[in-house]
């Protein structure tokens, strides 16, 4: 609230759902955002934060053939990113490359490296190998999970293995474990399911109603955070999957997405359809005994909500931390407004 004015705004022309941190760009703090317009020419914006940190400017503007439902920047090449798109009826996914010398072209076309086409299902999201240069990708559609082998130079991608989510389950999203790269978590209506990508078999599932977003704790193995539409945010320890180790109240309406800070332990961002972004400080480091007690005595519990950013007009679906400057996050509301905020005042509090 008091920090609301500190946000730096940037307007996309159309409605939009997805924004991604450009991890591979080590020189600048940049974000990629894709628009969601059914009838217009959709665009991908490469947005860069000025070195002074006071201004957002458009570094590149590329047209994209369809409305974008998911966009992830490649972790090892700042010019590559993946999108999931739809033309209203069918869904598809592709890997794109930003053309060289795009500064000289007026409205440069993106270069399609390859499409990740599968026979069936509404594709939901693409997961890149969590860190470093690697040729593996995962795509998740409603029914299946695919592991792809991507060859950027040959511009091909092949399905290496796949597994079905099961008859009654519809997958909606997922996350790749940064600590154990053989493990992938996928959200699936009332479950959080885990696959071992080596065998492509389900390993475990956590019961968790209306789960819609999941993020691994970047420093601590076994800890992950989920956002659920109705019941807020849960923090889980995978060694004790029966009950969450902590619950946060989430948002007034749906909690849409949740992101762990890449650097600061326990700092969690959540965005919701009540047009707010909440900054939480959860303690993920307490051990078994203390957690139990603290869950019990929530009365003595200090409010984990550090701040609410409410300077938005519409629901917020896109949210990302900057990996280069981890005290900065970018949020994207449905009306196409990108807001970059700094959480520095709350870090010093610790």
């Amino acid at each position: 609230m008091q920090a609301a004015s500190s946000g730096i705004g940037y307007g996309l022309k159309y409605q939009a759902r997805c924004i991604s941190d450009v991890k591979a760009d080590t020189d600048h703090t940049s974000f990629l955002a894709g628009t969601l317009s059914l009838k217009e020419e959709n665009e991908v914006h490469l947005i860069r934060l000025s070195s002074s940190g006071t201004e957002l400017f458009c570094e590149g503007l590329f047209s994209h053939p369809n409305e974008i439902w998911d966009l992830v920047s490649c972790p090892f090449d700042q010019r590559i990113f993946s999108t999931v798109y739809s033309n209203g009826e069918t869904y598809g996914a592709a890997i794109w490359q930003i053309p060289e010398l795009y500064g000289e072209l007026n409205s440069p076309q993106l270069e399609r490296i390859t499409s990740l086409d599968t026979d069936s299902g509404k594709i939901k999201c693409i997961l890149w190998w969590p860190s470093g240069r690697h040729d593996k990708l995962i795509s998740i559609n409603e029914e299946n999970l695919y592991l792809w082998n991507l060859d950027v130079s040959k511009k091909t991608a092949q399905v290496q293995s796949q597994d079905s989510a099961g008859m009654l389950h519809k997958l909606s999203g997922g996350a790749w474990d940064p600590h154990d790269v053989s493990s992938v978590a996928a959200t699936c209506e009332s479950y959080l399911q885990f696959w071992d990508v080596r065998t492509m078999k389900k390993t475990m599932s956590i019961e968790c109603s209306h789960v819609c977003s999941v993020d691994y704790h970047p420093q601590k193995q076994h800890i992950l955070v989920t956002a659920e539409h109705e019941s807020g945010i849960h923090i889980w320890d995978l060694r004790k999957p029966k009950v969450p180790i902590q619950e946060l109240p989430g948002h007034t309406h749906w909690t849409w997405t949740v992101k762990c800070n890449p650097e600061y332990d326990g700092m969690i961002l959540s965005a919701g359809t009540d047009s707010t972004v909440n900054l939480w400080l959860a303690s993920t480091n307490h051990d078994e005994l203390t957690t139990e007690r603290q869950v019990d005595s929530s009365a003595r519990w200090v409010d984990p909500l550090l701040n609410t950013y409410s300077d938005y007009e519409d629901s917020i679906y896109g949210l990302t931390w900057s990996s280069r400057e981890p005290w900065i996050f970018a949020s994207l509301s449905y009306d196409g407004r990108v807001v970059v905020e700094s959480v520095k005042p709350f870090i010093s509090k610790k």
């Binding site: 022309k13 159309y14 409605q15 317009s37 059914l38 009838k39 217009e40 739809s86 209203g88 009826e89 209306h210 539409h229 109705e230 019941s231 007034t252 309406h253 749906w254 359809t273 009540d274 007009e313 629901s315 449905y334 009306d335």
Partner: protein, 763 residues
């Protein structure tokens, strides 16, 4: 200065004294000590010089003075002369009488010596006579003494031989004391010669004494004998070296047995027709027995104290047990009074026991346990009345308002009743409770605090998604249970608010009126009952429950919406023919909520009362910009559409969608509707629609608009949200052409007619 002191002394007297002292004292220098330093004009000094004196006098005084002095002196001289004469005469007299005395002494002493000699002679003769008598009587006296000794011995032997007879006589006349005395007197002889000369005698008397012992024992044990008799018997037995301790032990056994008889029977005490006299008689008997004991065995106090303590402890233990079985304060008071009376009675005869202190401690335990159990039962009552909601079907299902009513009554009335009960105890003036007054006040306050804390815990437990706690009560699970569960949560919310707003102030009032001034605990810890803290707790709990209820209800609505949006293929939707069924379900769900909420929550005032009459105004109320926009042909650019939406939002006041929930029917329902519509919008945004799909949504929204307005308090927000849904649908539509108003109207009317028909059929 010295002169001044001397002046008051009479000149004459002084002179007389000096003269007398000079007369009697051998050393004139000492007597004249005082006049040594006399001035020259002192006529009495030894160094008196008449010429000088005359000079001074003539020099000092006038003629008249001199004449006067002359007269004085002449008188003085005359006086002195007479004094001297007197002295001389007196001395002479004394001298004469002394001479007379000496003369008489001389004549008296002369005959004395002859008398003395005569006396000596007589004494000598008396002595010689006495010596002669002594020598002549000496032999006889020895003989007599021997005879006397034999006589004594014979008398003793006689006594021994007579002993059995005497003893039996004593037994006959029950003069046991004499018997024992005789026997003990004979004892040394029996010891010395019992085996030889007096064997028969000894046997006979031992037999007799055995009878005595037996009789004494009988007396000791017989309750009919007076205490004095029994005590004497005990003393006698002790004198006979009889093992009295065994007897004592036996008697104690008996006493302890009698204790079991006077054990408290609380039910009997508090049964009005019950016979209390048995207990009273028993306790009197016990008291008497104790009295007797003290007299009989003066060294038995310790044991008696133990027995008495035992009795009291046992009684208190019984009372404690009794307290656990939900009793009224009158019952408790009855029991305590009986116990206290017993204690007082015993205390009278056995002060060493300090039973009142002992029982005070025990009473503390009983009263605390009473306080605790009273609160426990209250908690149980409240829980029971709450859990009526979850009773299985089959047994008649309680409606929420009935349950709420019962629960509020249970809390308020129950709470006040409990306090009233405590008050009765507090007002009781029986000795023991008066001393505990302050402590009781503290206990009550502490108990109250603890009770509310537990109540909140209990509420939280009930509201927990984890049903295990409720299953313990053997109640239904499953969908029915779930439905009822939401109701329970709502009741809990209202009940919490009720407790915060009504019960706590009342209870606080009551506490202030009757239970103030306890705090033995000291000031720093403050009073045990902190209403502010409890209020805070219940306020937050109430809000939590309300939110939980809204959340639970909203989840059902969301589920409904989710099914609605995931099932059809919206891109290939067919033309709308009627209002979709899901609307009925949605409204049904809302109706259930409204019903529940109406039973529990108070009615609030409406914020935006509708000024215009019925539903025909619906379209005119909706956003004109939207109407216009939707009215345009589909060739209109979607970009400008978005712009318009933004513009519209700018000009419209930003509607606060998510406001604070209040404890009113409307507020809760409105919140649920708002959340539902927001979810609706979000679901819409995830889909892509064709024209028919869009029209279907438009139709459905138009249909729910009127019934929704009926039940919510914030029409503006609802209108806004409904419009938002349509805008969102339009945005997600490939070809957003709305239905023509006449068709829309027709379809809605058809639906209304159908519902009405169904209603009439069903009714």
């Amino acid at each position: 200065m010295v002169g001044e002191e001397v002046v008051p002394m009479d000149d004459k007297a002084k002179r007389m004294r000096d003269l007398l002292s000079s007369f009697y004292s051998p050393d004139p220098s000492i007597s004249n000590n005082t006049s040594k330093h006399a001035s020259l004009d002192d006529i009495n000094s030894t160094s008196f010089d008449p010429d000088q004196y005359m000079n001074i006098l003539a020099h000092k005084s006038n003629l008249e003075g001199l004449l006067q002095r002359h007269v004085e002196m002449a008188a003085e001289i005359k006086n002195l002369d007479t004094d001297l004469q007197m002295l001389v005469y007196e001395n002479y007299n004394k001298f004469i009488s002394a001479t007379d005395t000496i003369k008489r002494m001389k004549s008296n002493i002369s005959g004395m010596e002859t008398n003395m000699e005569q006396l000596l002679e007589k004494i000598m003769s008396v002595q010689s006579r006495s010596d002669s008598v002594n020598t002549s009587l000496f032999d006889k006296r020895e003989h007599i003494e021997k005879l006397h000794r034999t006589c004594n011995l014979l008398r003793k032997v006689q006594f021994i031989y007579d002993l059995p007879d005497r003893l039996s006589k004593c037994i006959k006349s029950e003069a046991y004391a004499d018997a024992v005395r005789f026997y003990i007197g004979a004892m040394p002889i029996f010891k010395a010669y019992g085996d030889s000369s007096f064997r028969d005698c000894k046997q006979a008397s031992e037999e007799a004494i055995a009878v005595v012992v037996k009789n004494l024992q009988g007396k000791l044990f017989s309750d009919s004998e007076s205490i004095q008799v029994r005590a004497d018997a005990a003393v006698l037995l002790k004198q006979l070296d009889f093992p009295v301790n065994n007897l004592k032990a036996k008697l104690f056994e008996k006493l302890e047995q009698s204790i079991t008889d006077i054990r408290l029977n609380p039910e009997e005490i508090n049964n009005p027709s019950g016979d209390r006299s048995t207990h009273e008689a028993a306790i009197h008997e016990f008291v008497e027995a104790v009295c007797a004991f003290r007299v009989i065995f003066p060294d038995s106090e310790e044991q008696l104290v133990k027995v008495a303590e035992d009795l009291v402890t046992k009684n208190f233990v019984i009372a404690e047990e009794y307290v656990k079985t939900r009793i009224s304060p009158e019952d408790l008071l009855g029991v305590l009074r009986v116990i206290w009376n017993d204690v007082l009675l015993i205390d009278e005869v056995l002060q060493e026991a300090a039973l009142s202190n002992h029982s005070l401690e025990a009473a503390k335990v009983v009263v605390t346990s009473f306080v605790r159990s009273a609160f426990f039962h209250l908690l149980q009552d409240i829980s029971d009345s709450l859990l009526q909601i979850l009773k299985k079907e089959g047994a008649e299902q309680c409606t929420l308002d009935v349950v709420l009513d019962a629960s509020t009554k249970a809390v308020l009335q129950g709470g006040l009743n409990v306090l009233l009960d405590f008050r009765k105890i507090l007002d009781d003036d029986s000795g023991i409770l008066v001393r505990l007054r302050e402590l009781i006040i503290d206990w009550v306050q502490e108990g109250l605090q603890e009770f509310f804390r537990q109540l909140e815990d209990q509420f939280l437990l009930f509201s927990g998604r984890n049903h295990s706690s409720i299953q313990v009560h053997g109640l239904a699970e499953g969908t029915q249970g779930d439905k009822a569960f939401a109701g329970l949560v709502l009741v809990l919310a209202q009940l919490s608010a009720f407790i915060e707003q009504t019960v706590i102030p009342k209870v606080t009032e009551e506490i202030a009126a009757s239970f103030s001034g306890g705090s033995v605990r000291g000031y720093e810890s403050g009073p045990a009952f902190v209403p502010g803290e409890i209020c805070r707790k219940f306020r937050s709990a109430g809000e939590k429950f309300l939110h939980l209820y809204i959340n639970m209800r909203n989840q059902r609505v969301s589920l409904l919406l989710k099914k609605r949006f995931t099932t059809p293929n919206w891109v290939k939707h067919k033309e709308p023919r009627e209002v979709h069924m899901f609307v009925d379900l949605f409204l049904q769900e809302l109706e259930i909520i409204v019903n529940e909420v109406k039973q529990i929550l108070p009615q609030g005032r409406r914020k935006h009362h509708r000024t215009d009459s019925n539903g025909s105004s619906a379209s005119s109320r909706s956003n004109p910009l939207r109407e216009e926009k939707l009215g345009r042909s589909n060739t209109q650019r979607a970009r400008s559409q978005l712009l318009e939406t933004h513009l519209a939002k700018l000009f419209k006041q930003k509607v606060e969608i998510f406001t604070k929930v209040e404890y009113t029917q409307e507020s809760v329902v409105t919140t649920i509707v708002k959340l539902g519509l927001k979810s609706f919008q979000e679901f819409v945004r995830l889909q892509t629609f064709n024209r028919s799909g869009f029209q279907q949504i438009q139709l459905d929204i138009q249909f729910v608009r009127i019934p929704l307005r009926e039940i919510v308090e914030d029409e503006a927000a609802i209108d806004f949200l409904l419009d938002e849904v349509i805008v969102a649908t339009a945005e997600r539509c490939l070809d957003p052409i709305p239905l023509e108003p006449p068709i829309l109207d027709k379809l809605i009317r058809a639906k209304l007619a159908k519902t009405e028909e169904q209603n009439t059929i069903s009714s």
